[in-house]
Assembly symmetry: C2
């Protein structure tokens, strides 16, 4: 179905970086006829309409989704409960519902809490693994998802035609689509995305607290520190929501990380250069191998 | 003395990224008449001579430093003991000795162990805070230090004219020079450089160990992970040496970091969104403020 999908009416709830980029990508691919943008901020929505990201905009979720064939939920995880509660009333029984959130079990919990069995079967959880530090519809672009993974986590209750449509929709954006269990997805993402964010926030805080009026602890921070902590400039609200939504998997990752740090600490205390070298070398090899697999090694 | 320094004969021990860049920068500034490169690998030294980085090259440290006015030790921390032992015999009594190592107490320990009081008074520990993932003389460049800090850590025993000469030398490379206590330097660098390296190595290892033949744990790693772990592709040997050389300061930083992680873990376990938001926001603000102070905010 690659690129062959055609959606007559798409409703995007939350027209920010992700929702805006989805609309742009599908329009560019000729895969959507009409896009309704739904949000809480009328001025922001008007901006999205002026930019041509959406054809029509409304602050009324019920009105915006009423005639949609596909509803894409692109709001922060913290808003899921309210959005799915509203969708339970407002979405048509045949509409396919999907989302773009970072933690899929949380999305399923919100959907199961509010949707009836019929609508639940039309819900296909999805996570396009793309983004950036910039946010908002102004940062959205048609090629945001091109070449990136989009993970779908349908369940045994999910209708196959709904999954097929959502898969075709994401392929039309240029994404590589794969399907897996929601719990597996959340564990993978906790490791390579959520844990690094907490680790970066924690490190900046550890350094910050060592400063006083006479000493700027960041004074000698250089390029390595800047790269390492870049994700600590991400949205605190978004990452609070993600951390809470993926709490169990993230706690497991924090425990694994603590064990690694403790093992380095023990080697350092013992002056065990061999153990340090082995740990550093294994990490370097794993990262270099990953980059070589990924894109030819530009790190 | 900015830019006015003139060194007749400079000996660079270890002609890699740092030593090569120092030679290039001083030549370009017209601040040195003759550079002798000293190292263990004759082919590598010949390459440095062909590139014009050094005027003369030798694998004999004694021969290379015999007539030098300034000796710059630009070898890995793990080689300091051997190099200072050799300098105790080979360096002239009037030569100014400096180094470029990442941990200054370790440099002082090696110098005090081997140099007599006269030569020790001519040793000015220095740390140019610049570098990169690439290494070797091929990566060296005249502007590597321009605009970066170079920290000098002279002691009460250090001759003032020696400190003044080393300060002028580093200013001639374009570096911003400051002076502080070696212990303070090591604590600062442990926080913003050494700890991030250990944190990145540990994180890659924590993820790596979750993989098996069926699952590539890095499969969904994206840009944030790449930036966060970039420094985990640094030289394992160099970082083993630095970690051991700055062990006490680094252990203190690891403890502070563990406390921050534990505090995030406790907030997460309690489902305390307010505490998470406060921690993430404080970190984001500290990082954003640092970038604004540093260079106008390009993160």
């Amino acid at each position: 179905m690659n690129g062959q999908v055609r959606i007559e009416r798409l409703a995007v709830i939350g027209v920010g970086l992700i929702g805006g980029s989805l609309a742009r990508a599908l329009k560019q691919a000729g895969s959507v006829a009409h896009v309704t943008g739904i949000g809480r901020d009328a001025a922001h929505l008007e901006r999205a309409r002026e930019l041509g990201v959406v054809d029509e905009a409304t602050t009324s979720l019920a009105e915006g989704v009423a005639h949609a064939d596909v509803v894409a939920v692109c709001v922060p995880m913290g808003a899921y409960d309210a959005v799915f509660r509203a969708l339970a009333e407002a979405a048509s029984e045949t509409a396919v519902i999907t989302d773009a959130g970072s933690t899929k079990r949380h999305a399923l919990v919100a959907a199961r809490r509010h949707l009836d069995a019929g609508r639940l079967a039309r819900f296909v959880p999805a996570h396009p693994i793309a983004g950036g530090e910039r946010s908002g519809v102004e940062a959205s672009r048609a090629d945001l998802f091109a070449g990136h993974w989009c993970v779908l986590t349908p369940t045994g209750q999910t209708a196959e035609d709904a999954t097929a449509l959502v898969e075709a929709m994401w392929r039309a954006t240029g994404a590589r689509v794969t399907t897996m269990d929601a719990g597996d997805h959340d564990a993978f993402l906790a490791a390579v995305s959520h844990l690094p964010h907490l680790a970066a926030y924690a490190l900046v805080n550890a350094v910050r607290k060592q400063g006083d009026e006479a000493h700027d602890p960041f004074r000698f921070a250089a390029g390595g520190f800047r790269d390492f902590t870049r994700i600590a400039s991400s949205s605190p609200v978004m990452w609070r929501d993600i951390a809470l939504a993926n709490r169990d998997a993230l706690l497991a990752q924090l425990a694994a990380y603590r064990d690694e740090l403790e093992s380095l600490k023990a080697a350092l205390e013992a002056g065990d250069g061999e153990a340090l070298l082995a740990a550093f070398s294994a990490a370097k090899k794993a990262r270099d191998d990953w980059l070589a697999r990924k894109d030819g090694g530009h790190g």
